[in-house]
């Protein structure tokens, strides 16, 4: 009795511009309420919109990064509805002729492996203000700072088949959009918002009725909400009921998805072309320019890293978390040599990334050049791998070469052969019984003997060199 779940996602991203979409107000987040407002974004009588060139550029960049067809001509349209945080009583968006259509995003589904998710459309629109329903009793309080901030809406095809896939899609989308520096994609700050459509059906039958789920404020929230809704729909149908097309809202504290209490379930937005704005026309040369300046996208970079730096694709995923991490890794491995790819990966993933404040940026003090130096010190035995972590921690706050720092920390390994020979001789002389047993065949006593050499050297001996010297001495 299998069920198949079908999910489509509508994602709204705030674009990284200085000013708003249709006026010169600051688009900054976090300023005092109603500070960044003007006649246009307040919807005062007589105000008119003027579109932001950089917002268009970023929208085109996003569309190209998702492999969409960017339309040379697109049209702004009014979406008409009443809400306290929508100052004009309509939102300027795009409807029949959007900026872009027909792209795709590749994700890794926990259930199905590699999946290509279709992108139906990407269009430009303006954000509404922010409503606070619980600040003042019995009132809704509105801040219009956010009104007019540029957004792109990205609509996926209903190609996702589970709540976990929905989450994977969001993770992949966020990564691409951060790579191309189009949006911060930060759900806490509201620069990424998701609405989901979910339905269930028996395989081989038509898609079921879908519900729309809103008010999910984190990626894990999306997964929880959709898991609940999937369960609710299946239970309802198995109990003999039907699914109503409704808008639902996620209640995070309980993990429940409930119907929104609005009477108007189906909105008639009465879309029509925005008469205050002539069509948006993009010169092919401009679009080409934007395409040319696209950085290497995460998936392409991952594949290249696997080929060039001899790591696995899972390993490549770790060091391509962000463009900054990837650039750091690549400079590091180039400085050291491609044949050490695996080792460098180890360092990057386990040592360098531990010191990243956000998983996406690397402190400047751990520059690829300095890392390469430290790496060389370990390779040539000057510093042990274990000690290198101490040196790394010190490098974060202190200038100077890794070698100098190692010396200052007193972790430079002794490699003078004469000194080493002396310690070996001492150790062997002090433990004749163990020497005899070793010579009789208990080769695992080498560990003990190496330990004795290390003790005499105060930890400064290179354990590998000590083992080699002991081996020579015992064989002789």
């Amino acid at each position: 009795m299998a069920w198949e779940t079908v999910v489509g996602l509508e994602v709204h991203l705030q674009l990284l511009t200085r000013s708003k979409m249709f006026c010169g107000c600051s688009a900054a987040y976090g300023d005092p309420p109603n500070r960044n407002v003007c006649p246009v974004c307040l919807g005062l009588p007589g105000a008119l919109p003027t579109p932001n060139a950089h917002a268009v550029r970023l929208a085109v960049r996003a569309a190209l990064a998702l492999g969409c067809a960017v339309h040379p001509r697109s049209v702004f349209a009014r979406k008409n509805y009443f809400y306290p945080d929508l100052p004009k009583g309509y939102q300027i968006s795009q409807f029949e002729e959007p900026l872009a259509t027909g792209g795709a995003l590749d994700i890794v589904s926990p259930e199905r492996g590699a999946v290509r998710v279709g992108i139906t459309r990407l269009h430009i629109e303006e954000d509404a203000g922010k409503s606070f329903h619980d600040r003042v009793p019995g009132m809704t309080a509105v801040d219009f700072n956010r009104s007019g901030v540029p957004l792109i809406e990205i609509v996926s095809e209903p190609d996702l088949r589970s709540p976990a896939e929905a989450r994977a899609y969001l993770t992949a989308l966020k990564q691409v959009m951060r790579y191309v520096e189009v949006s911060d994609c930060n759900m806490e700050e509201g620069s990424l918002r998701v609405d989901a459509n979910l339905s269930v059906h028996r395989p081989g039958t038509p898609f079921g009725t879908r519900t729309e789920v809103k008010n999910m404020n984190s990626f894990s929230g999306v997964e929880r909400a959709l898991t609940f809704e999937q369960g609710r729909q299946i239970a309802a149908i198995e109990a003999g009921g039907t699914i109503e097309q409704r808008t639902m809202t996620f209640h995070a504290p309980t993990g429940e998805v409930r119907p929104m209490r609005s009477k108007e379930q189906s909105h008639d937005y009465r879309y029509f072309p925005e008469p205050d704005l002539p069509p948006l026309v993009l010169l092919p040369s401009w679009v080409d320019e934007i395409r040319a300046e696209l950085p290497e996208l995460p998936e392409d970079k991952r594949q290249r890293f696997v080929r060039t730096w001899r790591i696995s694709s899972t390993e490549a995923a770790v060091v391509t978390a962000s463009a900054a991490v990837a650039d750091h890794f690549e400079a590091f491995v180039k400085a050291v040599g491609a044949e050490q790819g695996k080792d460098v990966w180890n360092w990057e993933a386990n040592d360098v990334l531990t010191h990243s404040p956000d998983g996406e940026s690397i402190p400047a003090s751990l520059s690829p050049a300095r890392m390469a130096e430290l790496f060389a010190l370990v390779k040539d035995g000057t510093v042990s791998r274990q000690a290198s972590r101490k040196v790394l921690a010190e490098m974060l706050a202190h200038e100077g070469s890794p070698a100098a720092i190692a010396a200052r920390l007193g972790v430079v390994q002794e490699r003078d052969e004469g000194q080493l020979a002396a310690w070996v001789t001492d150790a062997l002389a002090a433990h004749p019984a163990e020497v005899a047993r070793y010579r009789a065949g208990e080769t695992k006593l080498m560990g003990f003997l190496v330990g004795q050499v290390m003790k005499r050297s105060g930890g400064k001996a290179d354990p590998k060199a000590a083992g080699a010297a002991l081996g020579k001495a015992l064989a002789g």
């Binding site: 200085r18 000013s19 950089h54 409503s131 619980d134 002539p278």
Partner: protein, 115 residues
């Protein structure tokens, strides 16, 4: 020029009959309170107007010339607002802690988070 052809409506097609249901629906969409007497009046008036404008159905549905529209001008992305001559508290009907206040939405009765 259609001067004589005023209120008699166009030829061809059924007369547009705007019903009370229609008035209620569009008044709701337009968030406009309309009392019973006015609604009755509007049914008649709007029906007549729609009958009159229905003459456009005589025209073909295709073959209309494309408008020769210039492309929209794009504005440089810099913070340069057209400043308000006075701050919001000078004209807002209800403002507190810098926020515009309205009576709370009824459809949220029972807890809603901020949006």
């Amino acid at each position: 020029m259609g001067v004589a052809k005023g209120a008699d409506g166009a030829g061809g097609g059924e007369a547009a009959r705007v019903t009370r249901q229609d008035i209620r629906r569009i008044a709701e969409l337009a968030e406009l309170a309309v009392d019973e007497a006015t609604a009755r009046e509007l049914e008649g008036q709007l029906s007549r107007i729609l009958d009159y404008v229905a003459q456009l159905q005589e025209l073909p549905r295709d073959g209309a010339p494309e408008p020769d529209e210039p492309a929209v001008r794009l504005r440089r992305d810099e913070v340069r607002p057209d400043p308000l001559l006075v701050p919001p508290d000078a004209f807002a009907p209800a403002l507190r802690q810098g926020l515009f206040l309205v009576p709370r939405l009824a459809e949220l009765a029972g807890g809603a988070s901020d949006e």
